[in-house]
């Protein structure tokens, strides 16, 4: 088996499994006032400190959520509502067109139901938003901007965005910038304080932690309107009983992700380079998606377009040989559609149907790369015969 879909989810780290299972048999609601409650709360607060440390944030800036999707929704909708409440003129939302659906669909929903004017920022052929593009968009009317949202690194093509420069551009006008850093955490340096962001999303299961846990890092001056109302946990921004085992496990994974980031970038990045070289050797006309420069892309991402192929044909052929990868973005019915990311970068829609994303992770080996090197040429040959039906 060659599991090359770590950007979808990566195996849990043994240390994170241990932390999770250890907590599962301990009773205590972190909001309770008695000893069991205080013990649970202590576990949560220690985890909060650990994660804050790993992400360059203050503990009070960590708002735990059920995952990346909820954190993105809370940031986008919550900040929109609070900023508009403070000044009804603020109804413009700026977003990159290559965001994950958790951001893209939330932004779209605001446009459909909350009177937002959604403006998609221009991107280059790597999918990257230039700081001047954000600056120009805000400067057209700084008073009507509710928020801007630009991801830290793209989940499909791996392009890394100049977040510090983008945050500076937003800060010139006092506009809060949110960034989805789900894919970036553990792969490129992510420091919330240094970034200048107002809000930032991270997720547990992308870094070796459990599913169903994530966090919104939220500058202390921001009070987004909650999406979930209830018991008032997490700064009254996100109600709901805290998932103590998942939080404890997330913290262990987060600490290790930060500690091992340089090793990851070096070692997994080298494996990724081998994979890119092997694919190009086997299929000379394969097109590498995203920024080819090492510093401009995630070290674990290799995204290819194979002209004349359907991505789902390739996926089936590789899957049958034990190679697990992705065509791009999965969706409800399991149907592969041309990726909105590729379309935004100006890729021809027919070409955009023939994509595969290989994403490596902490368990990736040379054997995985060799399996792809061996299989990809014949698979592409066969998929080309099947053509674009």
């Amino acid at each position: 088996m060659a599991y090359l879909d770590h950007a979808a989810t990566t195996p849990m780290l043994p240390e994170a499994v241990e932390a999770l299972t250890a907590q599962l048999s301990i009773t205590g609601n972190a909001s309770s006032l008695h000893a069991a409650g205080r013990r649970a709360r202590r576990t949560v607060e220690e985890a909060r400190e650990t994660l804050a440390d790993a992400l360059g944030a203050r503990p009070s800036e960590m708002v735990f959520t059920s995952g990346g999707t909820e954190a993105d929704n809370l940031a986008v909708k919550g900040l929109y509502w609070s900023r508009r409440d403070a000044d009804p003129a603020r109804t413009r939302v700026l977003a990159s067109p290559v965001e994950h659906h958790a951001v893209l669909d939330a932004v779209h929903w605001l446009g459909e139901h909350e009177g937002a004017t959604v403006e998609y920022l221009p991107v280059d052929s790597y999918g990257r938003v230039h700081p001047d593009a954000l600056r120009e968009a805000i400067a057209r009317n700084p008073d009507d901007v509710a928020l801007a949202t630009v991801m830290w690194a793209n989940n499909e093509i791996g392009t890394v965005f100049p977040i510090r420069e983008l945050a500076d551009a937003a800060a010139e006008f006092g506009v809060p910038l949110h960034s989805d850093a789900v894919q970036a955490f553990g792969q490129v340096p992510v420091d919330f304080a240094a970034s200048g962001l107002a809000a930032m999303t991270v997720s547990g299961h992308k870094i070796g932690g459990p599913y169903g846990i994530g966090a919104l890092l939220l500058g202390r001056e921001y009070s987004p309107v909650p999406v979930l109302h209830g018991g008032g946990q997490e700064r009254h921004v996100r109600s709901g009983t805290l998932d103590v085992p998942a939080i404890a496990s997330f913290a262990v994974a987060g600490r290790l992700a930060a500690e091992q980031r340089e090793w990851f970038a070096r070692e997994i990045g080298a494996l990724r380079d081998d994979l890119v070289e092997a694919v190009r050797k086997a299929v000379p006309d394969a097109i590498l998606g995203g920024d080819p420069a090492a510093e401009g892309r995630l070290p674990a991402n290799a995204h290819f377009t194979f002209p004349g192929c359907e991505g789902d044909s390739l996926l089936l052929l590789l899957d049958a040989q034990g190679i697990e990868c992705s065509t791009g973005s999965a969706c409800t019915a399991g149907v592969a559609q041309p990726s909105h990311v590729l379309l935004a970068t100006g890729t021809d829609p027919d070409l955009a149907r023939g994509t595969l994303r290989f994403s490596l992770g902490h368990t990736s080996t040379e054997a995985d790369v060799e399996a792809v090197a061996k299989a990809i040429g014949p698979a592409v040959g066969r998929a080309r015969t099947a053509g674009l039906s």
Partner: protein, 373 residues
């Protein structure tokens, strides 16, 4: 050409999410074939913002198919053939009604999608055959060519909607339910025994791309309302309709004619004329057809030469009737031993010798016993 009687084969099982295709896939796997399940996403919703959003029924069917594949223990994928389906089946369906004919979209789907687009893709990807839950049988002749036969259970036979398949398509078709002489309840019992949750799922009889079953509403939405006259055989106006495409030859219900016929007997649709948007109605015996001409003949094997006598089926779930048929200038000239009713242009005529499908063609024109229209 692959011999589908040999095994094991690499089989792509088309899984609709219904009980028949699930049991078919399970039987193919049990027979030792290397089976991969695929659900065809056939209805796109381009207005929807979310990538790949589908009607809820399709998502539910897709999930049912996936769960069946899980239980059978085979890989499962969803393939998007919505664009091909729209072009080759849905648009054809609308155009046929617009032209005053009565299409059979299931037949068209077998011809253009399941045993064309899907089969071609499967073969290119290294599969040997496509497996479906149709009730029909394929046998191999001594010379290696294929014969398509009615299913062992005549009551469930679906060879009519497969009559358009040629020898090459049949050579790569696997119908594991064709030999089954069981009631639907027994197929459900088999599904239950195999742990397939679709065992209790209701049958789908409607046209799959018209989820609410309202064909007239669907056509009106696509073709617009266009009021015209309902006339009798003499041309006298009896009422109005909202679009000639909404009628089928032989239709009795839904005519909404206020005045009864002089003889007090019910009236039927005799003719649909899209050119002047007129629907002609009349007594039941005016529907009697003695001969027809059919176009685009397809043969399972060599085309017959000279006139021959066959049994013919004129619509899905229709009975058999004796005919003489001959290929004349590429068209099939058919005459009936006894007059038949309710023959609608656009439907297929499938010719049989015993249980064997000889060929099929699309009904173009009919000759009435009473030359009234």
């Amino acid at each position: 050409m692959t011999d589908t009687s040999q095994r094991p084969l690499r089989v792509l099982a088309a899984m609709s999410g219904g009980v028949d295709s699930a049991v078919a896939a399970a039987r193919a796997a049990e027979a030792g074939h290397d089976v991969t399940g695929v659900h065809l996403a056939l209805s796109a919703n381009p207005q929807s913002f979310r990538t790949g959003a589908r009607g809820c029924c399709t998502i539910e069917d897709s999930r049912d198919a996936r769960r069946a594949a899980d239980v059978i223990g085979i890989p499962f994928y969803v393939w998007d053939l919505a664009e091909r389906f729209r072009e080759d089946v849905v648009e054809d369906f609308i155009a046929e009604y617009e032209a005053g004919r009565t299409p059979n979209p299931c037949l068209r789907c077998n011809e253009k999608i399941k045993f064309a687009a899907l089969l071609d893709k499967a073969l290119a990807l290294g599969f040997d055959a496509v497996c479906t839950g149709h009730y029909a049988k394929v046998t191999v002749r001594d010379d290696g060519t294929r014969e398509l036969h009615r299913a062992s259970d005549m009551a469930k036979d679906q060879s009519y909607v497969l009559g358009v398949l040629d020898d090459r398509q049949l050579a790569h078709a696997l119908f594991p339910l064709g030999d089954t002489v069981t009631t639907k309840d027994e197929i459900r019992a088999e599904a239950e025994r195999r742990g397939l949750a679709v065992a209790k799922k209701p049958d789908s009889h409607d046209i799959c791309f018209i989820a609410d079953g309202d064909t007239q509403g669907f056509l009106a939405g696509r073709l617009g309302r266009s009021e015209g006259d309902i006339v009798d055989e003499s041309g006298a106006k009896l009422g109005t309709h909202e679009g000639a495409y909404g009628f089928t030859i032989g239709q009795r219900k839904g005519l909404r004619i206020g005045t009864p016929a002089a003889d007090g007997k019910p009236r039927y649709v005799l003719d649909i004329s899209p050119v002047n948007n007129t629907v002609t109605v009349g007594p039941v015996d005016a529907l009697d057809v003695t001969a027809l001409t059919a176009i685009k003949p397809r043969w399972c094997g060599a085309a017959p030469t000279g006139p021959g006598t066959y049994t013919a089926q004129l619509r899905a779930h229709g009975g058999e009737t004796r005919v003489t048929a001959e290929l004349v200038d590429g068209q099939l000239e058919v005459s009936f031993a006894e007059a038949v009713r309710g023959v609608a242009p656009g439907q297929a005529i499938v010719l049989y010798e015993g249980t064997r499908v000889v060929g099929s063609a699309t009904i173009a024109t009919t000759t009435r016993a009473k030359a009234a229209v």
